[in-house]
Symmetry: C2
Subunit: 376 residues, 2 copies
């Protein structure tokens, strides 16, 4: 009799969540593996790249307890192709496992499961609760602004911090790549241990988003942060992320306080216009020029080889005319992170950073994007 | 007034068809361009890489005749982003063109249209007719077997040839990469000029498929072949493909005549089983082993690092047991080219090529795939 029986669908769901973590290019062969442990009618899958670890508990029938470590990618490829039937798994000699499903039989090489790195441990009682969709939304509205450049490691994460205002707890996330910054706050949310600010790496945050994206329903997740790791638990998933050490930039000083040229712009027309004008932006990244007049704005661009583009959109603005250059992609990504029909843009002059906000009641969301201008 | 007015949707449809041809990496800048000529309320778009040329006639309103040569990729990117409205095109100085649509205005750099290479000319009267879907089907059922290796230039094309049997005209297509061969015939079809056999390059054939794939309805296409080019016309499209010079392999001698071990296999179970067992095929391409017994076949594979797989399927076979190794992908691609529920496999011994055919009445389709075995 097989040691473990599990439905293909259930197994594949779990393996799918491991793919982003285990199996990346790695010099340590066992990190391309996942760790399997089956006991008490549960199959626990664990994957880790030593920065981010994921554990999933899957439902199966365990006839004999066991553990294994096999290639994450290869196991995924095999299970994906199997028919929608029960898979029978048996531990064999020399750390191999056997998979049987329908008329298919696979023998899969493994490594000693004792050598698989274990996830950091945590205290069960210290978790804070936060609505899952709210946490996911806060990630989506900030993570895009974090740096992708490996060389800027301290800008490579999302700051998670706790504020207090008028007796209310406020959870804040901030991300920046040095050229732009995104910030979102939510009142009445509290994660213990982040008061001084912790930096979660972008990779880990995107894994959270991916894993949450596969979960249905509302519900709450549990978060616990210690000096070195963030631990996230929900339903039958556990995620452990190593925090980035070091100081997050003093972003409060970057938020402009004197941007007195305020205008309201339809989000979708602004976005579509930027998308069109972007086709003529030079690879030398000269950006899009915004020429602002009372009640309208001209967007223009030119490309050293291909030519130029311009377009007008209506805005609500009564101030003095001005011109400013921005990276069009930064503007578009900020707009995409807003839920409102209209956005507010606050500018000072052509050399000062601009602020974009969704045009929403402050009680709904405190959110802003700051974008540095480019030289005209 | 603009020189030409054309709906965005119509323009984009034509530009889309040009993308595979013009704009490829090229050392000659004008080959990344398309040629536009507007006259008599028609916009003619032409793209060519000097091997394959496409011309599309689009409907517009011409106020003043003109010609231009502009970047295929950039024009496509711009038009794709424009709103679903009328685009106004005006020829400007120095070979530039201006596009206006809604509130957008683009000035696009161009080259002298006189420098754009013209497509080879042809005789209007000499065309043969063939049903469009039939021609497309014949391409789909052979082209996959042609070589992708640049070094095997003479295997880089599809042979188009004309046979005569029992007083009937038969159109035949053949493709091979030296390891496998696909052949399809259709009775009652005749293309003048291909009697001795002409070789159409795979790239060109895949462009035909792409362009035909965008066309709806049944209809007929017109084909004309001279010593150097094939000309294809249908609806408002023209395609010109330079033929490959040289000899196609003597494929008739390759078709085995003494394969006396004949079996019938369900196409879908065979295909699915190959797909599963393929997950354990080594990168060293050791292939899948077929172990054939009366009424069943075992498929097996093994990978030097990951392990092994095997699976049984039922077959209709009464002959002697045998084993043979094949490249699993070649088997799968042959199966995918067949329309029948069951397939016939004809083998001789482990060292001789195998034949696969759809299990269809010979009057419906004459089609076969020959695959060389791999060493066991």
């Amino acid at each position: 009799m097989a040691h473990l029986e599990i439905e293909k669908r259930e197994f594949l769901k779990g393996l799918n969540l491991m793919q982003g973590i285990a199996g990346r290019k790695t010099t340590l062969p066992i990190l391309s593996h996942i760790y399997l442990e089956w006991k008490q009618n549960t199959l626990f899958l664990t994957g880790t790249d030593l920065q981010t670890g994921v554990q999933e508990a899957l439902t199966g029938i365990v006839h004999e307890e066991g553990r294994a470590s096999v290639s994450s990618k290869k196991l995924f490829e095999i299970v994906r192709e199997l028919p929608e039937q029960t898979i029978q798994i048996t531990k064999k000699e020399n750390h191999w496992i056997q998979l049987k499903c329908g008329k298919s039989l696979f023998n899969l090489a493994g490594l000693d499961p004792d050598d698989y790195p274990s996830l950091p441990s945590f205290q069960e009682k210290a978790f804070s609760k936060i609505p899952t969709t709210l946490f996911k939304e806060m990630i989506e509205k900030t993570a895009f602004a974090a740096s992708n450049e490996e060389s800027r490691y301290h800008l490579h994460g999302i700051l998670l911090t706790q504020q207090r205002s008028g007796g209310k707890e406020i959870l804040r996330m901030v991300a920046t790549d040095g050229h732009r910054l995104s910030l979102i706050e939510r009142e009445g949310q509290m994660i213990r241990g982040v008061e001084k600010g912790v930096i979660i790496p972008k990779k880990g945050v995107l894994e959270i988003k991916k894993v949450l994206g596969d979960k249905e329903g509302e519900g709450e997740m549990n978060i616990y942060v210690d000096n070195t790791h963030a631990f996230l638990k929900w339903e039958r998933s556990l995620m452990v992320i190593r925090l980035i050490e070091g100081e997050f930039p003093e972003y409060d000083q970057v938020i402009p306080k004197q941007n007195d040229k305020t205008m309201k712009i339809g989000k979708e027309p602004f976005y579509q216009s930027l998308k069109r004008v972007s086709t003529m932006i030079s690879e030398r990244a000269e950006g899009v020029k915004l020429s602002i007049q009372p009640n309208f704005m001209e967007l223009s661009s030119n490309h050293q080889d291909y030519g130029d583009a311009k377009e007008e959109i209506d805005i609500q603005y009564q101030g003095a005319p001005m011109e400013i250059n921005f990276n069009a992609r930064y503007l578009m990504e900020a707009l995409q992170s807003f839920d409102s029909e209209e956005v507010v843009m606050e500018l000072k002059d052509e050399g000062s950073p601009g602020i974009l906000r969704p045009d929403l009641s402050p009680s709904l969301s405190q959110q802003l994007s700051i974008i540095m201008p480019m030289r005209i």
